[in-house]
Symmetry: C2
Amino acid sequence: MELKRTADGETGFEKVFAFLRERLLAGSLKPGDRLISERELATLLGVSRPIVREALRALTVLGIVEIRDRIGTVVTRPDVSVLNDFFTFALAQQADMLDDVMQARVAIECQAIRLACERANIADFERLQRALAKIGETIDEADAGGMADFEFHRAIVVASHSETLTVLHGSLAGLLTHSHRSRRKLVQAFPSMKTYLIDDHRRIFDAVIARDPERADATLRKHFAIGDEYRRRAIVGDIDRTIASG
Amino acid sequence: MELKRTADGETGFEKVFAFLRERLLAGSLKPGDRLISERELATLLGVSRPIVREALRALTVLGIVEIRDRIGTVVTRPDVSVLNDFFTFALAQQADMLDDVMQARVAIECQAIRLACERANIADFERLQRALAKIGETIDEADAGGMADFEFHRAIVVASHSETLTVLHGSLAGLLTHSHRSRRKLVQAFPSMKTYLIDDHRRIFDAVIARDPERADATLRKHFAIGDEYRRRAIVGDIDRTIASG
DNA sequence: GTTAGCATACTGGTCTGACCAAGATCAGAC
DNA sequence: GTCTGATCTTGGTCAGACCAGTATGCTAAC
């Protein structure tokens, strides 16, 4: 029987995790590859199968690997959806984190729109145009409107043709989805929101079409700033109503 | 003996995970709380202890929970740093992604420097100043120089006082460490690099001190662009040498 | 030669019961 | 009242077993 921990105080789980991490980072394990079976892995590393399963499960929730029942464990192309899990938990206990995440989203989008100005192709333009049209069509609808808004911003990031930015934006936007919901109240509370939403997105679209990175960045940044202002005023409004009803 | 899967085809792990997820999202399990022991959890949910451990391990890698050896499992305050694992894996699998990652780094830093202009305090300024001084001192050293460079940029992000940006930057920068190495060649190949490195960082520092977001952003962006240009020319030089020696 | 069919090895999913080491607790000694 | 040590509890781990499908290959039929 071996010791419970290796010389460096490494736990069995860490051993297996580190082993797999190494291969994954080095590239000897690529997406699509099938890992050796849990049993083989266990004997190979001198640990028991439950420990191996802990490590595999850990990689699963990280979206690095997929355990297929009775098939095997395969390396997957990292999927952003796992971050949703994390953010869901995080936000459940820490609402003040939203503003922080929003800053990161602004960062990603502003960089993305600069790249989009350089790299966007016809298909990207068309996607943007469709999203823009949809924003106008759904301006009075809550859910559909929020969706259209999201798709427009998404289209910008996609047009950057940067995988990294797209992935990051996806994970950040995912946890901000609930803010799309709050859009309904905003539109109802401020009729001026309608022209803001339509005209602002139109200006952003124009800047991308003109392939003017500076103008696109500035316009997008201003767009976010105005949105913040609306949200701020909505909060003040809530406070007013709270006081009035109290 | 019960069935391996519940009626809805739910796996044992999912059962435990869902159980804990529910309590965590509902708030009946708050940060600092200690979970019941693995054994109790196992009997409570009618599964075996290894399965419970899988679920706990999953929550651990998500940063929701911390398993303390011989103490118990406690709910932790969600920390964005767990994303580090994910991004490390996710971004490591595409080697050609480096340029892409760099774009994301630029995005994060340019947003961070804007926030830094608003939020930086004396301590942040001092940290920046120290980093700036170090860049000058280590201008002829390869490793130390790269380190000083990194620390300066890191100081900018820290000064943004945004945890999300800080973590994202940390993850991205980790993948770009090798580019610090290549800095050595660049400085050797282009003596003008020295003044570029020193003066550019100085200008960035000044803009933050002046609390001028626009200027800071623009200066930083230009700094990255020039760095790209140096790298581009270095590649061309390599090609020239390759041709000459061929 | 080709193909349909079936036995078998293999895979993940899970359970049971056990042992270890060390923190936590409390009774009993001083 | 304090200190000490036995005991309980906790996580960390292992070994071996069973189930239910998948994959594969081999055999037999065409």
